[in-house]
Structures are given as structure tokens and as C-alpha cells.
Amino acid sequence: MRGAGWKGAAARLAGTASRRSGRGGTSLPGKLLLRLEPHAIGRLSRGLERSAVISATNGKTTTAAMVASILERGGARLVSNRAGANMAGGVAGALLHGEGDTGLFEVDEFWLGPIVEELAPSALLLANLFRDQLDRYGELESIADRWAEVIRAAHAKGLVLNADDPLVADLGRERADVSFFGVEDLGLATEALQHASDSTHCRRCGAPYAYEAVFLGHLGHYHCPNCHAGRPRPTVTAHDVRLDGVRGARFELRTPDGVARVVLPLPGLYNVYNALAAAALALELGAPLADVVAGLESVAAAFGRAETVAVRGHDVSIMLVKNPAGANEVLRTLALEDGRHDLLAILNDQIADGRDVSWIWDADFETLAPRLRRAVCAGSRAPEMALRLKYAGVPEDAIEVEPELPRALDRALDGAPEGGRVFALPTYTAMLGLREELVRRGVAGSSFG
């Protein structure tokens, strides 16, 4: 997509300048373009044959990577904002620079309305709503209200929703054409709602939901005993789910187009949810089931999401944590791995991480505490991370505080047993910092974009 005339040229020039200065360069030209031409997204997207928008608190980037992997098998040429630049500037920038026939955009929860209105996408996927960075976003209910507005405005044609998330599923209750996805393996149910659970009360009448099964945070099988609003019956579903530690997951995918066994190279139930979301969206866009399966099975980890890098004879597995629900799934996945773990926990409090680090007290580090051999805590709020681990039950002499990232990485590697793996759990800016450090050491390739 090329911007017409001087506005696009000026914006592209700004992008070149910002890339030369070293970082990203994905949203600055878009921002500039939107200042010059507020409806640039609408105009530029008219050159696309179709487009899809993905929003969620957790899993946007991974789900978009899965959908891309599927659609590219069918020959689609994608225009997408895969660098995590997911506000209007990032989408405009992708349209300005990209060449292709299919738009695939991950969109920040709060930017959904204006972007969907401009794009009028062929399909809109809303995958989950968890408590995120409340200092940045306000409260869950207000995001759900905004999303309801977006759906009411009906700029998006197809709608794909998570049946297992009551807050999200409720958004589709009045429409007949929604594609719902969900997990049908009751063997995965946890014993109780986790501490980080959100929206456990009916959005319609306020009564607490009754859960037949809880899979992940507040995702599960539920109904309202008061007004009888229940979980919609999903048509894209996962059965017989097997979680293989940090290596991957397997499940049977059932769809209106048929049934297939999927071997997913990404770990954890949260990635099974991402895969279901990607499958439902791709099918909505007309992808054949064979492409869906092959695309899911060949997807590579998005950077910082279960990516493993070899450093000084150790494997360092990087797993982004940014809110309690996401962190709990990572902790649960680590607990599936045998042995005792070496941890590098990096807690930053930049705006992109959330200035409020309260959320670490809602994440169940207790799950992992008995399995930790040693933990090095780093980042701008390292001591608070260390304290969280102490109160989760990690012995104080197994916890080290080293705020500086390069030194903390070395301390974690020094302390790990010969050839042992180190699990790095960084917040968002910490993940960017860690990758930068790994690139600087020549052990990881730059993978922006």
C-alpha cells in the first residue's frame, strides 16, 4: 500500500529516519500520516481484498503469527503490523509500507473502535479480556462496554469470539452469525477459579456465574444461575488436549469443515486457545482446514514468547509475562517441566509494562515456588519481584537481586548447573531489553518486524 502524494512521502521519510536512529520505526510514520490525513487507514485499506483484526488482552501477537502462517499457505500476501505496533499509528504505518492483498492487524484493546471503523474488516476476532495494566487502561468492564459499541456499530463483517470467556462471549449474544471457539476437554479443568480471575459475575444481571469447569483464569464452562445466560455452543473446539511442558501441545481440532489432530510447537493451554482463535478466524476468512493444520504446526514462536536461545552453553527460554492471567499460564507451563528450575525474573515499570507493578501479587508464583532451584531478580522493580518470590515460599538464600540486566543474565547463567536451562520471565520492555542484550552478544538474530 503506498500513500498518495506528499503526505505518504513525508511519512515514509520519517520512517526511514526513525529506523536509522535504531529502533522499530513502525509507528512514527503512521502517526505522522494520521496527523496529516486522519482517514488514511480507511483510504489505504481500500486497496486490500480483505482484512482481519485481532484484539485481546493476551495472545494477540502469537495469534496473529498463527493466522499469518495459515493464510500464507493459501498464497495470501499479507500487510500486517507484526512488530507489536498495535495502535492506529502502527496500523497506518503497516498500510503505508506494506504491499499485499490481505490485511492482518493486531489491535490494542482501547484502539479497537476507531481502527475497525476505518478498516471495516472482513472479520474481527475478540479472543479474551483479562485484567491488564489498570493504570493504563481503566477497568475491564469499560473495555467490554467499548467493545460492545464496536460490535453494535457493525463495521466488521464476520465476528469470531471466545465462548469460554463470559465477558467476550456475551458480546455476540444478539447476533446469529458469530463463530465461537472453545475448549471441550474437561480433564483440563483446574480445581477452582484462580486468584487472578476476572468477570466472574454475569454481565447481564450481576449474579456470580456458576462454573462447571475452569480452564484458565476465568475461561471455562459457565452459566448464570439467575438469568440463565450461558456459554454459547462453540463450533471450533479443542478436544483431548495434551500439554508437553515448555515444548508444545497436542489436541484434536474440531470444526464445521472437519476434524484434525494438531501438534502445536508452542506450549501451554494459553497457546491452545490462541490456536483455536487463529483457526476460527482463518476458517471465517475461507482458509481450508488443511492449511489451518499445517499453518498451526509450522508456526514459529513470536519473539519473547516461548523463544529459546543458546547462551554460554545454556538454553535460555524467554517467556513474556505482563499480567496475572498470562503469568499464571506461563507458571503452570513451567511447573509441567521436570526438575528444579533456574529463573531470571525481570520486572520493569515503564509505561508499556504498566507503571503499577501490583499485579505480581495476583500471579500464582506459589505454583512454581517449590520447583525453583534459584531465582535472579532484575529490572527497575527487582526488589519487589524478589519479595514476591519470598512470600510465595522461595527460600531467601535462593533469591538474588541484581537490577542491571546484563549482569543479572550472567548471574543466572553462572548459577545454573552445567548445560541447564534458564527460564527468563520478562515484562514487555524487559523482554525487548533482554533480546537486545542477546543480539549484542551475537546469540540471537534481530527479529523486529
Binding site: D135, H201, P324, S358, A382, V401
Partner: protein, 249 residues
Amino acid sequence: MADRLRVCALYPELMSIYADRGNLLLLARRCAWRGIGFELTAVGHGDTLDPDAHDLFYMGGGQDRDQQLVAEDMAGHKREALHAAAARGAAILAVCGGYQLLGDHYELGAERVPGVGLVDLHTVRAAGGTGTRLVGNVAIEVELPGLDGPRVLAGFENHGGRTHLGPGAAPLGRVLRGHGNTGDSGWEGVLAGSTIGTYLHGPLLPKNAWFADWLVQTALRLDAPLPPLDDRLEDAAHASARRAAGLPV
């Protein structure tokens, strides 16, 4: 020394949005390390509240809708019990949304949510939505009974309400960094006997372990401070929260 601390968590299912669990965890562990028993009772919507059965009452923050559900139940069914508990000297710690419900009422636009009237204050939601929330790291200076001088509480605040203290109410502390009750009064929270309300949310106690100990001592009505613990990490976390608020350490 008393052999156990009996804690009542009020509406934990509805009012624990900002990691309020961290506060309870700190109390539980620090009691255990000192050989003090710890009993936690959850009292929720529709439950009966026994004013004599607990030494410390805790309530956290909630989303607007949940807070309204709680307000109706609390003002309607738990008001007398809370007043009786405060009168007999039990400690009450209410954070964020819980703090707002301690007062007379909370105005949300045209709506008026009832409080329990335990302290002389009322709260008004600022017009204009999320842009007018008071958000950020905060540090206040407090002087508490039994302590030999001013101390610092550090934390994080995120509230749309402006809380106005009446003539019968004293603030918990003076704002050193951040916004506090109204953003311009210079005061934060409320302190009335052993009843405390504050906007310093969620893991207030993990960031201020000394305050957790003061609460335990107050709730158990002990004359002497609790025996010290190895608080190196606690002290470092307190320093980290102070630094984040912009205070020199």
C-alpha cells in the same frame, strides 16, 4: 502475646481488583514467622458479619459495578456490625474502593452509592472519564500512635473519585509525592482510631512491611512492638517503591 490474629476479608470476590491478596499474604506470613496464629474468614455478599469474631477487617478495591453491589449489601446489612467492631477497637483497613465506602456516600454522576458512615467523608467521581483518574506512584508521611516519629508509606494510586474529609475526620498522612484524596488537598486517606482508609492500593503492605507490623500490633492491642524479622528484602522493596514515587532513598 496474643496467640492468633483473626482477619476478616470483606467481599474478597468482588473487592480485590488491585492484587489485594498481597496484603493478606503479608499478614499471614509475618504472623506465621513470629508464631502468631492466623485465621482468615471471607465475608461476602449476603453473609452475616459478626463484629466480635475478628481483630482486623480488610476490604480492597473493585470495579464500579461490583462496588455498587457491595455498597448496597454493606450499607443495608453490615453497617451496625462494622460500627460495633470499630467501637470495640478492632482494626479496619479499607483500600481504594473500600476506602470510599467507609464514608457517607459516593457520588457517581447522578447516582449516589451509600457508604457505611464510619468516618466523616464523602467521595465524588470526577466528571470526564478515564482521563481524570488520579494515577501513579505515591508516597505519604504518616504519624501513627505508638510510633516514635513520622514514617513513609509508599504505594500506587488509581482512582476516579475525589474524597473530601469532613470536619470530624483526620487524614492518614501528608502527600509527599502523588495525588492523594483529591489531587490538590495535600492529604491522603483517613485515620480514625484504629480505622484506616487509603488510596494506596493492592500490595500496600508488601511495600511497607513496617506498616503491616503496626497493623498487627494495633489489631491485637499489644503494648510492645512485634519482635523484628529478617527484613532485608522487605526494606529493599520499600526503598524501591519510595524511589518509584520519586523520593530520595
